[in-house]
Symmetry: C2
Subunit: 455 residues, 2 copies
């Protein structure tokens, strides 16, 4: 032992104690706080059993990198001992040739299972399923099933959901729960503790994460079987679904804020990667927004004649953006919750049209009062034609808020129609969409109302 580093070795002892005794979730949290090099060192000290538990936690940051830092033989043993779904997650994030090397070190059967999971698109049910579930032939008894479960308990992600398959065809016929199983007598047939006339709720290998969450929540299940042509390939457990729900919410919030989803913790992301994720959308929005400069150029002669009109441009444009952002957030969420479907766009439009008119009228009245108040109180002089200007602002607000609500609510439908996720519609996206039209509406109203006076 190095006598010049007594503190470090004390620390190492303390950390080793924590690694042995704490709840694995707390250990993972502690490891995530350490620099990569320290985490690697610590992991070398951990007993193998514990190592498996640690790598089984999806919360472990940079798990693929940490695994590569282990000796290859140990990494192979680890992948074998881990739950299949987590092993697939880690392999998915590895680049070649590391992925193939690790896969090559595994037993042929496990390798085949992992390769088939890796073959499904990311985020699909099959890509997050585990193949470690309990399934028994329908001619077994309750007692035999219980014995089987006792034997395999340690190697199964859940034993609470029990899938019953036809002994000949291997087709899934029923599902039951351990709670029902223990109420049966040992000699009862397993089918006697399954619901008599109801097929299990299943999903297909390509079902997306959002549908998984909705299905498991709707039917109050602990696991969802992934079924292909009637045969059960694996199951997705509720705790994996909660993890993906939290991830998905983060992605949605980032996208609604007008950027690519980070996909990594904010503080851990490198500066350049962060700028890259944000600059793309920011530039796209900026370039679209340049159309406002073109629109303004088109109205330059009006602007020169009635400079007072420019005073209200920011106010009017932001109102369109705000009402659009409200409508978009409502529709994104209603679509995600399946409260409305893609074909309900016209119902939504029929709701947003009057809503926009009323909201626009409210803002219009507030705006007119503001101008009248400033004029009367002498805060500012809008000139002899101030009532016409106030009317212009008021009417423009009705038009812009209505247009904002309507286009904000239609944007998610339009995105869905052309094959994008409706949740890609962001507040800044809607604002940009509404801004140019907002200017055109404002100046058109002004041209009608102020013609012969100011314009």
């Amino acid at each position: 032992m190095n006598e010049f580093a007594p503190v470090a070795s004390d620390e190492a002892v303390a950390i080793a104690r924590i690694l042995a005794n704490d709840h694995v979730a707390d250990i993972v949290e502690a490891l995530n706080r350490e620099p990569r090099a320290t985490a690697t060192e610590l992991l070398c000290e951990v007993k193998f059993e514990r190592l498996v538990e640690i790598f089984d936690q999806p919360e472990l940051d940079a798990a693929p990198e940490l695994m590569l830092a282990l000796p290859r033989a140990k990494a192979g043993k680890l992948l074998t001992a881990m739950s299949v779904d987590r092993a697939a997650d880690i392999l998915r994030e590895l680049d070649e040739p590391a992925r193939s090397e690790l896969l090559g070190a595994l037993a042929p059967q496990l390798r085949a299972t992992l390769l088939s999971i890796l073959g499904y698109p990311e985020g699909s049910a099959a890509s997050i399923m585990t193949t470690e579930f309990v399934s028994v032939p329908s001619d077994w008894t309750v007692g035999r099933t219980l014995d089987h479960i006792r034997k395999v308990e340690r190697t199964r992600e859940t034993v609470y959901a029990i899938y019953i398959v036809d002994p000949e065809t291997q087709l899934l016929v029923r599902s039951t729960g351990l709670r029902r199983l223990i109420t049966g007598e040992p000699d009862d047939p397993i089918m006697s503790v399954a619901p008599p006339d109801r097929m299990p709720v299943t999903v297909s290998p390509l079902t997306d994460r959002e549908t998984l969450a909705q299905t498991i929540s709707k039917y109050d299940l602990l696991a969802l079987p992934v079924v292909d042509h009637g045969k059960i390939l694996g199951i997705v457990t509720i705790d994996d679904i909660i993890d993906t729900m939290i991830e998905e919410t983060t992605e949605d919030v980032h996208r609604f804020g007008g950027m690519e989803a980070l996909g990594e913790p904010y503080m851990k992301m490198s500066f350049l990667a962060m700028v890259k994720k944000r600059a793309g959308w920011l530039c796209a929005l900026f370039i679209s927004e340049m159309l406002t400069a073109n629109a303004m150029q088109g109205y330059e002669s009006e602007l020169e004649k009635a400079i007072v009109l420019t005073l209200f441009i920011p106010l009017i444009m932001s109102s369109g953006g705000n009402s659009g952002s409200q409508a978009t957030s409502l529709v994104i969420r209603a679509l995600a919750l399946r409260e409305i479907g893609p074909r309900d766009w016209w119902r939504v439009a029929l709701r947003e049209l009057p809503t926009g008119l009323v909201l626009g009228a409210i803002l219009g009245v507030v705006g007119i009062c503001r101008i009248a108040l400033w004029q009367y109180m002498g805060f500012y002089d809008y000139g002899a034609h101030w009532p016409l200007i106030a009317t212009t602002v008021g009417l423009a607000l009705v038009g812009i808020v209505t247009f904002g609500s309507l286009s904000g609510s239609m944007l998610p439908f339009a995105l869905k129609r052309i094959g994008f996720d409706p949740a890609s519609a962001s507040a800044p996206f809607v604002a940009t969409l509404v801004d140019v039209t907002g200017l055109v509406i404002y100046f058109s109203v002004a041209l009608v109302i102020l013609r012969g006076t100011l314009l």
Copy 2:
């Protein structure tokens, strides 16, 4: 039977068949689609056992109203047979005197339990917990516990989590799972199938929904015990947590869109209620945004001298709002996931400052190129001083995007500091915050650069 309504009665038969055979979650979905009056009628036809299952689904819309439509005696029986947490949910939404009337019809013990749950603030762990869990004294054997579970299985929301309490003090000492229990021998003490040296993960009665979701996801549990002074009051099960997570995401999306959370499905909400929820924030934002008109008035003489400056106002303002919206969404989510804490504001500020500068510089360069391009190609003539105008726009963009990123990222911290939910920070809120300052930055830069030429 009324012979003038044969169709209705055929329909009634068909519906009765569905009500008897379909999965209860599908029945609830079908009921939600019917008008209130039809739903009430249908529910009168349903067998009592099924009725309990239907009301146990949190997805049932307007459950309190439907319950009131039942005869009082039936409603009382229903509340008794339902799971305690759902009964509390329904009672919470009822107004007086209906709530007291229904409570009065219940057995004293159940009434006391429900009243204590109702006493906790909405959204807290205790307000959504159920008291129907399995707990056994620590001196029981595995066999006795299994017998107990077999007996109470039907009346417990989950039997997969088993809580072990001290027989004397009733304090919670361990928790275990049914999967571990069945691996033990009948004569083993129950403590032998519990983790030897680890106290169960618990929450307090006032723990909020977000922490519940994070805790259950972190420790991969199926239920969380709600503990007060060491005694277990109830448990929150994972399916209830999923339901509240979906609800919470909806609220967050609505609020980030710049409005009060609807709290009801979009298509079911009355027109007036919807306008009310949206008009509040829209007006508040509108009134704050009026400051932009004041700011513009302050620069009127500059505007008159250099009308060309107005052309870029929408472009520049929207860039500030967009970068702010990105930063806000990042920080809201990082705070919610506990990646950063309230004291990390300065670390975030130190990240956002350079990020904002780089993003602003990128947009600035794009903006300058746009102006130069238009000038060279002859699309528009910005006058002899166009390089100065381009410089003004470029530098203003750097300032505004930096300010937007910085204030957008600080807003959630500020809200948290003054006691609000950081998720109340919305994209429109940030845009409004940034707009006035954006104008001031733009005109200040213009005054410095264009003094002596245009201004």
